[in-house]
Subunit: 419 residues, 2 copies
Amino acid sequence: MSLIRSWVESANLAEAEFPLNNLPCGVFSAEGEEPRCGVAIGSFVLDVTGLEEAGLLVLEGGPLLDVPFWNEVMEAGPEVWAALRAQLTALLAEGADARDAVEEHLFPLAQVTLHMPFLVAEYTDFYAGRHHATNVGTMFRGAENALPPNWLHIPIGYNGRASSVVVSGTDVRRPWGQLKGPNDAAPRFAPCARFDLELELGAVVGRASEGMVSVAEADAMIFGYVLLNDWSARDIQAWEYQPLGPFQAKATATTISPWIVMRAALEPFRTATPPRELPLLPHLQEPGPMLYDIALEVGLTPEAGSETVIARTNYREMYYSAAQQLAHHTTSGCPMNVGDLLGSGTISGPEKSSRGSLLELSWGGKEPIEITGGQRSFLEDGDTLTLRGHAQGQGYRIGFGACAGKVVPAHQNPSGAGR
Amino acid sequence: MSLIRSWVESANLAEAEFPLNNLPCGVFSAEGEEPRCGVAIGSFVLDVTGLEEAGLLVLEGGPLLDVPFWNEVMEAGPEVWAALRAQLTALLAEGADARDAVEEHLFPLAQVTLHMPFLVAEYTDFYAGRHHATNVGTMFRGAENALPPNWLHIPIGYNGRASSVVVSGTDVRRPWGQLKGPNDAAPRFAPCARFDLELELGAVVGRASEGMVSVAEADAMIFGYVLLNDWSARDIQAWEYQPLGPFQAKATATTISPWIVMRAALEPFRTATPPRELPLLPHLQEPGPMLYDIALEVGLTPEAGSETVIARTNYREMYYSAAQQLAHHTTSGCPMNVGDLLGSGTISGPEKSSRGSLLELSWGGKEPIEITGGQRSFLEDGDTLTLRGHAQGQGYRIGFGACAGKVVPAHQNPSGAGR
């Protein structure tokens, strides 16, 4: 697969995140206007709500883009997903007759505000990276018990909080929580002192299911992927997580990239999960390559400082794919719905520089990392985290856009009122 | 508080679940008709959607009852909740002038189908009963480690799966799952062999929040309560729950009663949580009594058999109230939304006969309980579980209606297809 050239010249640059091969789905607003659905192309967003209104884009069962979220397109199913891509490709390809009509629906990305691209139905987060699980397990339970006995048999997951999911650019307020250090006599209620990120990829479920689905069926249910930062309060987590898992430690915010990269755009980058250390039971075995080769990095920018890239890794490091996670999610008969979001789990690689959380990078705070102008064990107020990711094709890239969030100080007095 | 007499004679009987004092909120359909909002009164359901259409019920910001769920009424806020109760009380009270006009909107409960009373936004389940936590902890971790160190300081909770919540009367299919007994060399994929219930009360959140709320504010956010059966696959849970908590073990189904009993109807039955064994931090302290005196029971009816009541307990046994749970839920800044459902956790009392799960009643299967015509350690196919609950006033009761579900056999072959 090589670059599909577009009459939008900025989409043809080798380092462009949004070539015609990509066509990621977002929601944007121009100044003073209501949010609309858009697709990124080069340095522009194409107003696909406007295209559909103008009759330039015709989707079966439409209008599907008359709402500021992509759930209706997802609900319409894979044939509509394919039709959308085919029509947009024809409209935007070099030499397209429709250029003049389409061009008036382009807005410079620099001049729009991006919003949540879809309504999150429910959010599940996994713990499916071998290096991350080993690192964290070693810190929390010792090297001998690092990997729980079930870890090589099922993708361990827990339900997160959909209401906490926010789009890139949303400030993240340092949470309060109940904390108790190992040497404290009693717990106290205080702002989190070990606030952290988790570098993840999120899979967006585009088809509902009832009853159990196979790994192949699960793969076909996935509409696309987003970058995802699972903000984590490590001190709150340490005190609360036994016996029923993380709860408030993960409920402050989960930031996603503004663009959903459709599964179709990632097809050329499929790659297999690593060799199994123990054979999986048949219902979790993969019929083909289900991961993607997506280079990922995390930048940390202190207030009024410059960015340091603190981690570089790749989605192919995961032990379990999103398709395996989704299949496992349905084993109990759990109904899945359009708009469900599955976090991959932290994507750490084998090197120290490829660890996807500060917990791992600073080894629980014992080995602070160097950044431009300082050190970090955990996040400080004013720090901005920026996740980036792209798949590298022959002369083109498939990017996600930045997934950024800034840590703002905890409230002085946490007690507020209901809305 | 005594009985408010109604011209609906069946509402005035001492054992009626739905006297005029109650007015619980549900959704019903008459044969061949679309679902509508209804309120139970005596042996009837009052079609409040019809009342609003006819102009007999006028709610600020209405129509609010033109959809088959109560979320819009909740969203409208406490003044509307109070106005609804006041208007319905006036319309249904003995001697009401409107009797003739209202009477045509009554449908015999025996002739209607009941549906989910509200759209569940997200579902959280707690572990907040002292006796239950002690019993389960003793079985899983030994008597010395029965109560986790955090248990007396925070209401332990985990996020459940909203898509699994179903209304009373829905069959519950025995799940498959990955299982590994303590003596098994490897896990296997098989139908759950230790399928169980958990007797709980569910709190329905009727107001959204951003930021942390106090216990008093949390109490005011609660619209009402339902009975809740948190179906649990104990063998799946035992294998999966470390380190991140229950996942597929709790995702098959969660059954709720068809009626939401509004908080206002329960006011006369407020009672305090038990004395604190350790003082709570200020943000979790209660400004007044936040539990309710609600007698609860569980009936088990085998296929073609007769019912045995296997447990009798009371909601006042909980260590933490729903208001405390909701306040804790917001400590991290987690946004709460209209339609969020909070399960109380299993409500076990101090006696063996007051345990709210078969896991406890049969002590992990070691001491099967006697039922009419047999024994039970865990649930068998064909078993119907019926949860009931009521608060007992002076000559009247506030009931919830039955919360029932029947266990149907596992699929022969679990692999199905996406919808």
